[in-house]
């Protein structure tokens, strides 16, 4: 079986969906003959035609709005926003309509839409190409927000997103697009939604993370294992809803919680997780909750991006202090 990168696994899931579901339509900027700027849709227009893999005009609000109109007519649009930093013009459609239409019409109009978008930094890209804006989306009721951290997860979660009858925001960690390969059978098997994933079992501390930075978290956990600190690493995968019960179960065993995310700290998802553990799991805690996050600064241009994104040393230090507290 071929080993795939994360971006190839996404391509495989898109191809599987186009092949097996005639309602699936892809739209976005440069996704056709060019195959997308990251090649996530490479070869798909050639295989499935220009009507099912459509290049759109350069207008993110249009892409999201058209997806709504198409989905309301029974199609399953999978739209690409070229980079998450360009999501803002689409937020009117996503937050005001996509998230609300089922509720607004009391179930009359439903919108099975997937909005795919590259997420996060670390790839030496220009300004606006490295943003981690998941909190913007997670704040809105009516949306699911996913962020895979491995090729197999990307394949299974994207299939689940496409099959879900409601809108799903699918955040793709750019740093992991080509970082590693993994066997990903093209079997059309979806992963469950609304669940976090256990990446590493351990008894001393629960470390919650998602997306690209799970890579640095696992490296830190490996380092710390040599120091007899056993991390339980949970990959959120579903950023909205958050699988709080799994986090609480883990914290009940470890008594310690570290949250690592690339996005800025202020009003980030780490705050939501920390607050929930404080509300529902405070008496399990042996140490203060620790957040290791991007700073409350503008995401810098790429010369400084690795000073912004929490690295292995910062993550390991945070976990160490939490375990020793």
């Amino acid at each position: 079986m071929a080993k795939l990168t994360l971006v190839e696994a996404i391509n495989q899931a898109l191809n599987w969906s186009l092949t097996h579901d005639p309602d699936v339509v892809l739209l976005g900027e440069d996704i056709g003959v060019n195959g997308g700027v990251f090649r996530a849709t490479a070869g798909l227009q050639q295989r499935h035609g220009k009507l099912r893999v459509q290049d759109t005009p350069l207008a993110e609000g249009l892409i999201a709005g058209m997806s709504i109109g198409m989905a309301a007519q029974g199609l399953k649009p999978v739209a690409e926003i070229q980079f998450m930093g360009f999501i803002y013009p689409a937020l009117d459609q996503i937050c005001n309509h996509m998230a609300r239409m089922r509720n607004r019409t009391r179930g009359r109009i439903t919108l099975p839409i997937v909005m795919r978008m590259p997420h996060g930094g670390g790839i030496h890209a220009p300004e606006h190409h490295s943003e981690s804006l998941e909190a913007l989306l997670c704040h809105h009721a009516g949306l699911r927000v996913l962020c895979p951290s491995s090729p197999a997860q990307a394949y299974g979660l994207l299939l689940a997103a496409i099959r879900d009858p409601d809108p799903v925001m699918f955040l793709e960690p750019t740093r992991l697009y080509r970082l590693a390969r993994q066997e990903v059978p093209d079997d059309g098997v979806a992963l469950p939604l609304d669940q976090c994933h256990l990446l590493r079992a351990g008894d001393d501390v629960t470390v919650v993370s998602w997306g690209a930075i799970t890579h640095e978290v696992l490296l830190a956990a490996e380092q710390l294992a040599a120091e007899q600190i056993q991390c339980e690493v949970l990959d959120l995968a579903s950023l909205s809803p958050i699988d709080h019960n799994s986090i609480l179960d883990s914290v009940a065993r470890t008594g310690r919680l570290v949250i690592v995310h690339e996005a800025a700290r202020n009003c980030g998802l780490g705050a939501e997780i920390a607050a929930t553990v404080a509300e529902r799991g405070l008496y399990s805690l042996h140490a203060p909750i620790c957040r290791i996050t991007g700073y409350d600064t503008v995401m810098p241009y790429f010369r400084l991006e690795h000073d912004y994104i929490p690295g292995v040393a910062r993550i390991a230090d945070g976990i160490r202090s939490t375990v020793r507290a």
């Binding site: 207008a59 199609l75 005001n96 309509h97 509720n103 019409t105 879900d164």
Partner: protein, 358 residues
């Protein structure tokens, strides 16, 4: 220097303000029953509007957006559409919606702050009222794309106001519709005022129809108080779209004979005399004059019609006021097909405290 592009904008009017034909009338207008159908619904809209404003003023309805003055445009567009087409309204196009099967009860339910009003029993594919201005436009383009993909002879019809044509989403949708020859008709209802801002402060463009030209699609202006003209122009645009000819922009020139909503007071910004002058061009009067001149309408029929409309409206008022009150579960039930487990606890909390927050 040489000229590389020119454009012109046609203006259509078939019935003038006195109800006199200004050109040969189309075939549908030769059939008196067709015209009476249009006139009856326009009258229902006018009387319904008065009732809804009264309900709001007496505390039985939330803020309401009136349609008085727009009846010819709204009913004309409805009559030009086919049932299988899809409508993307703004929030005051009741004439179109009623033609297509939305009920007075649903309209009142919506404006009384209850989502059940958008669960149209009639045109299931029509979009509900759209409050964020112009955001319905790309959605209509998307529906049109779906029709095109499936090879269906259906069209999307999207409304927008004069103020809405200043929004980016308006241009984005027109541009897309032009680039892909989508089966969609955009109706700009130019009623002169975007709440308090007149068209001249909205744009320097001589017409709003010409905004279509930059998107490579035709734009046409019609007297929006002339229901025969509106229906004829929109029928032509829909026939063109249905046969693969692509999108059209129709600018209907009319006047908002009311406040923007019941929360607005147009005397704060509209020049004196403008409203009175506009009443001389209003849409019901001219069609009634034409029908009377044709010997198709008299005082007795008018009285019967008004009584019949009032009875329909009163029945709708009874129906929406006797709907069982919504319950807190309704906030949760329709959010997702498969609600996240975390919501269950909040739903239970809402149920426990339901009614206690008032």
């Amino acid at each position: 220097m040489s000229s590389v592009a020119t454009f012109h904008i046609d203006h259509e009017q078939l019935l003038d303000a006195d109800g006199r034909p200004t050109a040969a009338l189309p075939a549908f207008a030769q059939d008196a029953s067709e015209l009476l159908h249009l006139y009856r619904l326009m009258t229902l809209c006018r009387l319904f509007d008065a009732k809804a404003i009264n309900l709001q003023r007496t505390g039985r309805l939330g803020t309401y957006a009136p349609c008085t003055g727009h009846e010819a445009t709204h009913v004309g567009v409805g009559a030009a559409m086919r049932p299988e087409d899809a409508l993307f309204p703004v929030y005051r196009e009741y004439g179109t919606q009623l033609w297509r099967g939305v009920t007075l009860t649903e309209i009142l339910t919506y404006w009384n702050g209850d989502e059940r009003g958008t669960h149209f029993a009639g045109p299931r594919q029509d979009f509900p009222w759209c409050v964020p201005i112009a955001s319905q436009m790309p959605q209509a383009a998307g529906a049109a794309m779906a029709f095109k993909l499936r090879g269906e002879a259906r069209c999307a019809v999207a409304y927008i106001g004069d103020g809405g044509t200043s929004q980016g989403a308006f241009y984005e949708a027109l541009n897309m519709a032009g680039a892909h020859a989508l089966p969609v008709v955009f109706i700009i209802v130019n009623n002169g005022w975007a709440i308090s801002v007149p068209v001249a402060e909205q744009t320097a463009a001589q017409t709003l129809a010409q905004k279509a030209i930059a998107a490579g699609i035709p734009g046409v202006q019609v007297d929006g108080n002339d229901v025969i003209g509106v229906r004829a122009v929109v029928e032509r645009a829909l026939a063109r779209a249905r046969s693969g000819g692509g999108a059209t922009v129709v600018e209907a020139l009319t006047y908002r004979l009311s406040d923007h909503t019941t929360a607005d007071d147009a005397t704060r910004y509209r020049p004196a005399g403008e409203l009175e002058a506009a009443w001389q061009r209003e849409p019901l009067l001219r069609l009634r004059r034409y029908l009377q001149a044709q010997g198709q309408w008299d005082e007795a029929q008018e009285a019967d019609l008004r009584a019949d409309c009032s009875a329909q409206i009163e029945a709708a008022v009874v129906a929406y006021t006797s709907l069982p009150a919504p319950v807190s579960d309704d906030m949760f039930t329709h959010l997702f097909a498969h609600p996240p487990a975390e919501l269950a606890q909040q739903q239970a909390t809402a149920r426990r405290y339901a009614g206690s927050g008032r």
